[in-house]
């Protein structure tokens, strides 16, 4: 392959340089019906799962067909959706904040052909390319992060875990039969690039082993004080060590660090600052399942998701335990919650002890907050609990 210049001259980087122009103006990308009725929408209706109709004051209507977006997509996939946009939507398309794709048409008769086209497109092994759904009181797309596809700190994969969970919950994506919307999010480490901390269900990659220390190279590759400062629990201390060189077997003294294992909570922040402190481990890494968060201010205030399963191993390629645990929660919620009740509101109404009982999940010591002062406020300072087994002194006493 031959290098083809864009016109950029590396010797004169400033020549002709264009910078700070920002993004393209959104107004240039709006379909006419949207542009004409901008700020003048009156009401909307979800005609069927995945199909929205918005009505403007002018009487205009826009029909939106939403399809599941596998947000990791190839240019070929994008070109295919452009083709659909050209065929049905005058060349316009949009993406949602949860990585779904929306095709809009300006009259009802255009909906059916569009839908048929979308549903007919499948990948070789049979998965849909553009599954219609993701609206209303159901499961929509799982927002997620890079995982093993690209990042350096993940404790699990993103695209893989999302695929298996959405395969399993596909019906809920296509039907609007849950008590309220159920937002599942995925982040492959606790940097939480998806900001999954306020999701109905959050799938979170988590390490469980303290970093290894690559003593021989640490001082070259890292700034030791930064690595030390990065640790939220002050588990890292500087330490001079005598080591045997990997290369030539010689002994030498190096500046390195020491980690107090019992203080480490595996956050990986030190690794972010210092590549000589890798955490990844086949057995150590896996998933923390959280539940009950939300973002909207509807009825109740936004709230954080809570840890409900402390660890699920990385059972590649299809993470059956993960899929099962998520399903247990969705099913119990679906059966028990009231109309309009978000998952977290349900759990709070019935009490978390009942949540665990109804979802058939085990409560373990890991789920009790012990991180800093606010932990106290999550313990129970009242007698208003429900009885779920075991509860009596003799029954919870370790043998």
């Amino acid at each position: 392959m031959a290098f083809i210049s864009s016109g950029y001259n590396p010797d004169k980087p400033m020549e002709d340089r264009i910078t700070d122009i920002g993004n393209r103006y959104y107004g240039d990308f709006l379909p006419p019906v949207i542009k004409n009725n901008f700020g003048k929408w009156q009401w909307h209706e979800i005609l069927e799962p995945g199909v929205l109709m918005h009505k403007a004051e002018s009487g205009d209507e826009v029909y939106t067909v939403r399809v599941g977006g596998v947000r990791l997509m190839s240019v070929e996939h994008v070109r295919e959706l452009c083709e659909i946009a050209d065929t049905h939507c005058d060349g316009y398309v949009r993406f949602t904040t949860r990585n779904n794709i929306e095709f809009m048409v300006d009259s009802k008769d255009k909906v059916e052909p569009l839908k048929q086209d979308l549903s007919s497109r499948k990948h070789n092994e049979g998965s849909f390319k553009f599954p219609i759904g993701g609206t209303g009181a159901g499961v929509t797309n799982i927002i997620h992060t890079q995982g093993w596809i690209h990042c350096h700190t993940p404790a699990t994969d993103a695209s893989g875990t999302v695929k298996v969970v959405l395969d399993d919950l596909f019906d809920e994506f296509q039907k609007m039969r849950l008590p309220a919307q159920l937002r599942i999010s995925m982040a492959c480490c606790l940097n939480m690039c998806g900001a999954v901390h306020c999701s109905d269900i959050a799938i979170l990659g988590y390490h469980r082993k303290p970093p290894m220390i690559d003593d021989e190279f640490l001082d070259n590759l890292c700034e030791i004080p930064l690595a030390i400062a990065a640790c939220p629990t002050a588990a890292i201390r500087p330490k001079k060590k005598e080591i045997t060189s990997e290369k030539d077997g010689s002994k030498k003294e190096v500046k390195s660090v020491e980690i107090k294992n019992e203080r480490c909570m595996f956050c990986g922040n030190c690794y972010t600052m210092c590549p000589s402190l890798p955490l990844a481990d086949a057995e150590g890494d896996g998933i923390v399942l959280m539940a009950g968060g939300k973002v909207s201010n509807r009825i109740s205030a936004p709230k954080f998701s809570k840890v409900v399963v402390a660890f699920i191993p990385n059972e590649t390629p299809r993470w059956p335990t993960l899929a099962k645990d998520v399903r247990k929660i969705v099913e119990a919620y679906s059966k028990d919650a009231r109309k309009y009740e978000r998952l977290g509101d349900w759990a709070e109404r019935i009490g978390w002890e009942k949540f665990f009982e109804k979802c058939d999940l085990e409560f373990t010591h890991h789920l009790i907050d012990d991180f800093r002062d606010p932990a106290y406020y999550t313990w129970r300072q009242n007698t208003n609990f429900k009885f779920t087994d075991p509860y009596e002194y003799s029954a919870i006493k370790a043998e």
């Binding site: 190839s74 240019v75 949009r94 990065a230």
Partner: protein
């Protein structure tokens, strides 16, 4: 034909949800076939290598990417994330594999023409694999080599009028819900303010001058469709201060079952006939609604604009007309001391061009944070460390009850010396005259 066996990944091709594995395979084939005779600027088999390295991770259950070095385009301190493979001999096509963040158009509407331009550029100079979109909102180009970065930037800026997004200790690419473009509830033009602030603060977006990353997100109403309150250092959430507009006839139509509740969002299950008491009035968190005969009444000064009633009866109820937004500050992910949601700073502010008031708030905050924030300290952490009072002081705002969910329950008030008559300095000898040892 495939470069690597991928028995594990292959199992992710089944099932109804779109398979990223199938898509990557198709892309790999597309590049291998190269029907358009493209002079691929990075290894043609890089997508095979992606499949290979991910398969290896599925086998090892460990990631195979290393820390990225500092790579980027000249004069910018963000927009590119460096990435290298930790098995470069096995997967040379992805040995260097940097991502680029491309600032999405606000609201994420596209023309196919523009999308194809991006595809062509990325197919040619990168892996042809992308995220639509990244979690912050950017278009993410996944995987190219260092020498292509300037080329791509040059072509993007010159041909497509398009700039990069943010990374590093910069302002990050702002994003918004679709707002007024297609939502009847938007209380301000989320796209316009997002666009204007993106352009106003290009310098902050491209050149790291902050202690750490900083994010803006714009929700048109309290439903929060871009999740601003959970993930932006400054979260703008639309609201109104006059009365909810009621169309009483439409209320009756809901009661009569003519209109589907919640715009049909619950139509997949038989929830029984609509009951305005059970579904609206009783669920109103402030209990400020009632039926007065056939009229639905709202005591608007008790309403907290939670959106529930409006969501349930969109044809009958609409937000008021005197709209603006609330500004909340400090959301962030867990590192270091746990996740934060944004906290209320300005309960109500008009969100109208030229947004001078809003810029004032932003810049007051930045001045403080740049002055006193520690390295890698998010705004939310600074507020926690120095106290909410300090935030108010630095933004020149008076404390009001709306700032809190509840007043403090500890009495540990830090009085300022000038608030206490006589000040802090006292003479113990004088005191001992009246109080023997």
């Amino acid at each position: 034909m495939a470069k690597f066996e991928t028995p594990l990944l292959d199992q992710l091709e089944t099932g109804p949800w779109p398979s990223f594995v199938s898509d990557l395979k198709r892309q790999a084939e597309h590049r291998a076939a190269n029907q358009d005779k493209i002079e691929y600027q990075i290894p043609v088999d890089c997508v095979e290598d992606i499949l290979g390295v991910v398969e290896l991770s599925f086998k090892d259950k460990e990631v195979h990417w290393k820390h990225g070095g500092i790579v980027g385009v000249f004069g910018y301190g963000g927009g590119v994330i460096g990435r290298y493979c930790d098995q470069p001999e096995m997967f040379p096509g992805v040995a260097h594999f940097h991502t680029m963040r491309v600032n999405q158009p606000n609201g994420k509407y596209y023309t196919s023409d523009y999308l194809r331009q991006l595809c062509d550029l990325w197919d040619f100079r990168g892996s042809g694999v992308m995220n639509m979109h990244g979690s912050t909102g950017d278009i993410i180009f996944i995987g190219t080599r260092t020498e292509q970065l300037e080329e791509i930037f040059y072509e993007m800026t010159h041909k497509y009028d398009q700039d990069l997004g943010g990374s590093g200790s910069n302002l990050r690419t702002p994003s918004c819900c679709l707002g007024e473009s297609r939502c009847e509830w938007s209380c301000y033009n989320t796209q316009e303010i997002c666009y204007q602030l993106t352009h106003e603060y290009q310098d902050e977006l491209h050149r790291p001058a902050f202690p750490y990353k900083f994010k803006f997100k714009f929700d048109g109403c309290p439903n929060g469709c871009v999740a601003a309150i959970a993930r932006a250092d400054m979260s703008f959430v639309g609201t109104w201060r006059d009365d909810i507009r009621i169309d009483q006839e439409a209320v009756q139509a809901y009661i009569g079952g003519e209109f589907p509740p919640n715009a049909g969002a619950h139509s997949g299950r038989d929830w029984g006939p609509f009951d305005i008491h059970k579904e609206v009035i009783d669920l109103c968190p402030t209990q400020c609604m009632w039926m007065d005969g056939k009229q639905l009444k709202i005591d608007d000064k008790e309403c907290t604009r939670c959106m529930h009633c409006i969501n349930v009866m969109p044809r009958a109820l609409r937000p008021g007309k005197d709209t603006g937004c609330s500004i909340l500050v400090g959301a962030k992910a867990p590192i270091l001391d746990g996740a934060q949601m944004s906290s209320m700073l300005v309960p109500f502010i008009k969100a109208e061009e030229p947004y001078d008031d809003i810029k004032e708030v932003i810049e007051n905050i930045w001045d403080w944070w740049m002055e006193e924030g520690k390295n890698r300290e998010r705004l939310g952490e600074l507020i926690k460390r120095q106290g909410f009072q300090r935030l108010l002081h630095m933004t020149g705002l008076k404390a009001i009850a709306q700032h809190v969910q509840e007043p403090r329950h500890n009495p540990y008030i830090f009085w300022y010396e000038d608030e206490v008559p006589g000040g802090f300095d006292r003479d113990v000898t004088e005191f001992r005259k009246h109080h023997k040892r």
